[in-house]
Point group: C2
DNA sequence: AACGTTCGCGCGAACGTTCGCCCAATCTTG
DNA sequence: CAAGATTGGGCGAACGTTCGCGCGAACGTT
């Protein structure tokens, strides 16, 4: 931590006023090519780097974006965190921004305290939110304070804010269509509780696809639970114990973990996933392809979402308007593997 | 972004000089209990929050810690990232620090540029490094600049810097001992290439444990590769094709993914992991318990490592000395499941 | 030749803190 | 009881930028 080189020293060396140096490096004023060169030379020779702190004190901007997320339970990895973060701060960096990560607090008040602190102390210029639940308190808070943010995920249409979301309904539609195309008619769903926003979005796709195929969904086909392995396992045992007439031959799960539980239950009954019962997951966790059998799942285009969100936010910060469209749904990709087709895809070069 | 409340306004309301207010909130000077109360009342009434930017401009400290990590390949989730990050910024927050995450660049020069920029612009006070490889360029750079950092992982003893590392050697020793106790004698290892620092640390434990048990390690037992599923799979096929005399009955892998590949290979030969061949992994990825069979693996105490690292770094920043010991090895935990014992542990409440 | 315009750059003034020094009043001490 | 020590608080000066304004010279236009 040696003494830092300042604007004034650069200016002295280039024989101009230090304010001129500032203007040059910010491209705020036209100067002669000759003086500009002199200034850049001085900068290079002295190894000058502008002080981020002084700069943001004066300009009232921190060039920092805040992001917080709900930690995963220990038995459930967050399959997209790494990719999402990397895509965000990679994009941010090219625009001169950095990403500040801060803790997620369970209690709403502490959660909001953290956001307030970051805003009031001037540490961040905007936030990226991962919106999962109905009536997210952070969304309301930021809307009320008119503080810039973009969200991964959206709510109902009552509150309008910039977001990108994966079209989970479309995803499940694709999964169901896939099973239908394989000849399945009795297709069950491993769903989240009814108060799950993401879950309901996805389930809509299930219901629509079944309806469009002219199949009446039996109420027993919809098994709800917290999204754990155990729920998937036990629900599947129940499904496969049903009378032949309504016993499902296909199962779509709202996440990978329930699908993994389902496959375990299927095997425990002496059946084989993909041969006897088709199973699909959601998220395409990295291990999905290494399961036995490899699992069909829906992959979210995480990198492009992160990049897109960050770009929108920065655009807003620098221009004052959000690029259209304010909200956007993107399609997931159905990655087909043996848990539905019964045949190895050759994706693994064994 | 309304006008912010400043020290001066608080001071005016409390009828003191604004510098006194500063001293009070920083506990730098003793004042009458009475004036102190007046000041705090004014702060509360006006809703004052100190400007982070102005504060750090003056005090030359950003109260921010930088962290960057190598992104995982898409087929390999980082099983500890979420927990590590959460533990770090949770600890940081209680001390008034935040965590700045920035991109990892493949090319060394760009990587160092990023570190330099963060230092020279004054954005961070210190770094947390994840040190994986021999001769990490960032370590050298930061040592040379005498810039504060702590590391998750360590190198040889030539360069000394504060670190915490999981004792991978001990971990593999435990894994081998576990297999020995189950009666295995011919134990193979799925290893990383020889230039892998982490890999060599772990392999030392394998060799030591075998040596202590009086078993001569056959050269063919050590199969090296990049740590992928495919490497685990193919290496295991080779191992199990060996003549009865040296054909291993136990396999320790340097990571979970190779162990998963090994289990797949075992099954493909009509054998069953845990019954016929014992398999252990490393990292205890969340999905390890949901595999068929559930996999024995070594778990790193990630949360306590993150917390500990952050505390050490902040202690150094505030006192100028690193707490002893400067380097510390912590033991991983062997999580025993059916891939070695052959019996379900009941960890899953099926 | 007189007159706007643009160009290139300088200058003073913030931005909101913390730091070091000073001073007056009170308290201790031999 | 004089002299030093302590306490409570004020004051000016940074910290390193960016912002807005202004001014002289060069330029092109009637």
């Amino acid at each position: 931590m040696l003494k830092r080189v300042t604007l004034k020293e650069v200016a002295a060396r280039a024989s101009v006023s230090y304010q001129t140096v500032s203007k040059v490096i910010n491209h705020k004023s036209h100067v002669t090519g000759e003086t500009e060169e002199r200034i850049y030379a001085a900068i290079r020779e002295l190894g000058y780097t502008p002080s981020y702190t002084a700069r943001s004190l004066r300009s009232q901007r921190s060039n920092t974006i805040g992001y917080s997320w709900q930690p995963s339970p220990p038995d459930q990895a967050n399959p997209i965190l790494d990719e999402f973060l990397q895509s965000m701060f990679r994009t941010a960096e090219t625009c001169g921004y950095y990403l500040l990560c801060f803790p997620y607090h369970g209690e709403v008040s502490r959660q909001l305290d953290t956001y307030r602190d970051l805003i009031d102390t001037g540490r961040v210029d905007g936030f990226v939110l991962s919106v999962v639940n109905y009536g997210d308190p952070c969304v309301n808070y930021l809307l009320k304070r008119k503080f810039p943010f973009v969200a991964f995920g959206h709510l109902d249409d009552l509150q309008t804010f910039p977001y990108i979301d994966v079209d989970g309904g479309l995803g499940l539609h694709m999964a169901v269509d896939h099973l239908l195309s394989l000849g399945h008619r009795k297709i069950a769903a491993l769903a989240w509780p009814e108060d799950s926003r993401v879950g309901n979005n996805r389930m809509d796709g299930y219901f629509n696809a079944m309806h469009e195929a002219g199949i009446e969904v039996q109420p027993e086909w919809v098994q709800r639970g917290v999204g754990s392995y155990e729920v998937g396992f036990n629900s599947t045992l129940r499904l496969l114990a049903m009378p032949e007439k309504i016993r499902p031959t296909g199962i779509v799960a709202m996440n990978d973990l329930m699908a993994i539980g389902a496959m375990a239950a299927i095997r425990q009954l002496g059946l084989f996933p993909g041969k006897d019962i088709g199973v699909t997951g959601f998220d395409d966790a990295p291990t999905a392809r290494y399961l036995n059998p490899p699992m069909t799942s829906l992959r979210q285009p995480v990198s492009s979402i992160g990049q897109n969100l960050m770009q929108r936010l920065i655009t807003y910060l620098e221009t004052g308007v959000y690029p259209e469209p304010v909200g956007e749904l993107v399609a997931p990709q159905l990655v087909i593997r043996a848990s539905t087709t019964g045949v190895e895809t050759g994706e693994l070069s064994n």
